[in-house]
C-alpha cells in the first residue's frame, strides 16, 4: 500500500485535454450529421456517438482503464440491466400488431 498511497495514480493533463477535444469533435459530428437526411442512419450515428462519448468519459475521466475488474463490472451493470429493460419491453411493442401471428 505504501508506494501506492504515497503517489496516487494520475492521468496526464495532455491526455485529459485530448479526450475533451475528442468529445467536442464527436459532439460536432452528431450535431452536424443530424442536419443531413440519412434516414435510419441518423439514429445509428447519434447513438454510436453517444456510446463512444460514454466510453471515453468512463475510460479516462472515470479512471476505468486503471480500475479494478470489480469496479469495471459494477460500472457496466446499470447499462446491462437497462438494456434488458428496454430490450424485452420493446420486444413486446414491436411484435404486437405489425407482425401477423405465425400460426
Amino acid at each position: 500500500m505504501s508506494e501506492d498511497s504515497k503517489a496516487p495514480h494520475t492521468t496526464s493533463v495532455a491526455r485529459l485535454l485530448w479526450i475533451l477535444l475528442a468529445l467536442l469533435a464527436l459532439l460536432a459530428l452528431s450535431a452536424g450529421s443530424a442536419l443531413v437526411k440519412l434516414g435510419v442512419w441518423n439514429n445509428v450515428i447519434n447513438l454510436g456517438v453517444s456510446v463512444s462519448k460514454t466510453v471515453l468519459v468512463m475510460a479516462v475521466f472515470m479512471h476505468e482503464t486503471e480500475a479494478r475488474n470489480l469496479t469495471r463490472l459494477a460500472s457496466v451493470l446499470g447499462f446491462v440491466w437497462l438494456t434488458m429493460l428496454i430490450g424485452l419491453s420493446l420486444f413486446d411493442f414491436v411484435t404486437r400488431s405489425h407482425v401477423p401471428a405465425p400460426w
Binding site: S97, H98, P100, A101, W103
Partner: protein, 314 residues
C-alpha cells in the same frame, strides 16, 4: 347453486384441451411433491437423532446427482412449455369463419353488440357450436373479460382493441367476470354468457329490437359523421377507397406496411395521422372525442361489409 363441484364445467371447445394440460401438470407436480415429501419424512424418521441408522459417507457430494436434478426438470419444463405454447397459439387464433361481436367495457358494465345490431348489457347470448370472436375495448380503465367455463380471459384496454374467441359446446348460462381490478364495483362487474341452440338464438335475436345490423348503423354514421364526403364513391377529394380494405396490407407514408385489421381501422378513424397511407395528404380530421367506441365499432363493421371492387359481392 350452492353446491361445490370439484371439476369446473367445460363449456368451450378449448376447455377440455386446457384441462388436459392442467390436470397433467397437477399430476406431475403432485408426483414431484409427493416424492419430495416422502423422502423428507423418510429421512426425518430414519435419521432422527439417536436412531441407529447407518450414517457412513454422510458428507459425500455428487456432481452426477446435481446434474441429474438440474437437467431432468429442465427437459420436463421445455416439454410443458411446448405443449402449453401449442394451446396458447390456438387460443390466439380464431377460426376464419368466426362471427365478430363487439364488446365495450366501462366502469362497471359490459356492453355487447351483436353483428345483427342487437345490444345487451352484462349478458351475452351466443349460439351453440359457432365460433365467436369478441373485439373488445374499454372506455375508461383496464378490465378483463373472463368466462371460467370457457377457460378464456383477456384484458380489455382503453385506446386499443383486444380480442378473444371461443366456441361454446354446452347449453346453459355461464358466469362472466371482470378479472382485472377496475375500481369500487369491480366485483359487481359481471354477468353471464347464455349459450342457446342456433334456432333459439335466432328467435332471441328476432325478439330484440335493433336499429338495423351493425353495418347498417355504421352506414348511417358514415353519412352523419361526414365520412362519405371524402371516402364516398362519388367524392372529389383524394381519399383512400375503403371498399375491400379490410384484411389487406396498406402501404404507409414513410415506408412500411400494416394489415388493415380492426385495430388499424380504429386508429385511422380516431387518430388518422399516426399512420398515413402512402400517396395521400394528412388532411383527415381526428374523430377522437367525436365518435364513441360503439360508433367506431359500427363504422368498422360497415367498412368490413363493403364489397371489394375486385371480388364479387358476397
Amino acid at each position: 347453486m350452492n353446491r361445490f363441484h370439484l371439476f369446473l364445467t367445460q363449456a368451450s371447445s378449448l376447455a377440455p384441451q386446457i384441462d388436459a394440460l392442467f390436470w397433467s401438470m397437477i399430476a406431475v407436480c403432485g408426483l414431484v411433491a409427493l416424492g419430495v415429501f416422502t423422502a423428507m419424512v423418510y429421512f426425518c424418521i430414519r435419521y432422527r437423532r439417536g436412531s441407529s441408522a447407518d450414517r457412513s459417507g454422510a458428507h459425500q457430494q455428487s456432481l452426477g446427482v446435481e446434474l441429474t436434478w438440474t437437467l431432468v426438470p429442465f427437459a420436463m419444463f421445455v416439454g410443458v412449455f411446448l405443449w402449453s405454447l401449442f394451446l396458447f397459439a390456438q387460443a390466439h387464433t380464431p377460426p376464419a369463419q368466426a362471427r365478430t361481436f363487439y364488446v365495450v367495457a366501462k366502469q362497471w358494465m359490459w356492453k355487447v353488440q351483436h353483428p345483427a345490431g342487437q345490444r345487451e348489457i352484462n349478458t351475452l347470448h351466443v349460439p351453440l357450436g359457432v365460433p365467436i370472436r369478441l373485439t373488445m375495448t374499454s372506455q375508461d380503465v383496464i378490465h378483463s373479460f373472463y368466462v371460467p367455463a370457457f377457460r378464456v380471459k383477456q384484458d380489455v384496454l382503453p385506446g386499443r382493441y383486444t380480442q378473444v374467441w371461443f366456441t361454446a359446446t354446452k347449453l346453459g348460462r355461464f358466469p362472466l367476470f371482470c378479472a382485472e381490478y377496475c375500481g369500487t364495483d369491480h366485483s359487481h362487474m359481471g354477468g353471464s354468457v347464455v349459450v342457446t341452440s342456433a334456432s333459439e338464438y335466432a328467435a332471441w335475436l328476432a325478439s330484440q329490437s335493433s336499429g338495423g345490423t351493425m353495418a347498417q348503423q355504421g352506414a348511417t354514421l358514415f353519412n352523419s359523421l361526414g365520412c362519405s364526403g371524402c371516402h364516398g364513391p362519388n367524392s372529389a377529394v383524394h381519399a383512400p377507397q375503403l371498399a375491400g380494405l379490410y384484411g389487406r396490407p396498406v402501404h404507409l407514408e414513410g415506408g412500411g406496411s400494416v394489415i388493415a385489421d380492426e385495430r388499424y381501422l380504429r386508429d385511422s378513424i380516431l387518430l388518422p395521422h399516426s399512420q398515413i397511407v402512402a400517396g395521400y395528404a394528412p388532411i383527415m380530421p381526428e374523430y377522437s372525442g367525436q365518435a364513441s367506441e360503439e360508433e367506431v365499432m359500427a363504422l368498422i363493421q360497415y367498412i368490413k361489409s363493403l364489397p371489394s371492387a375486385t371480388e364479387p359481392p358476397r
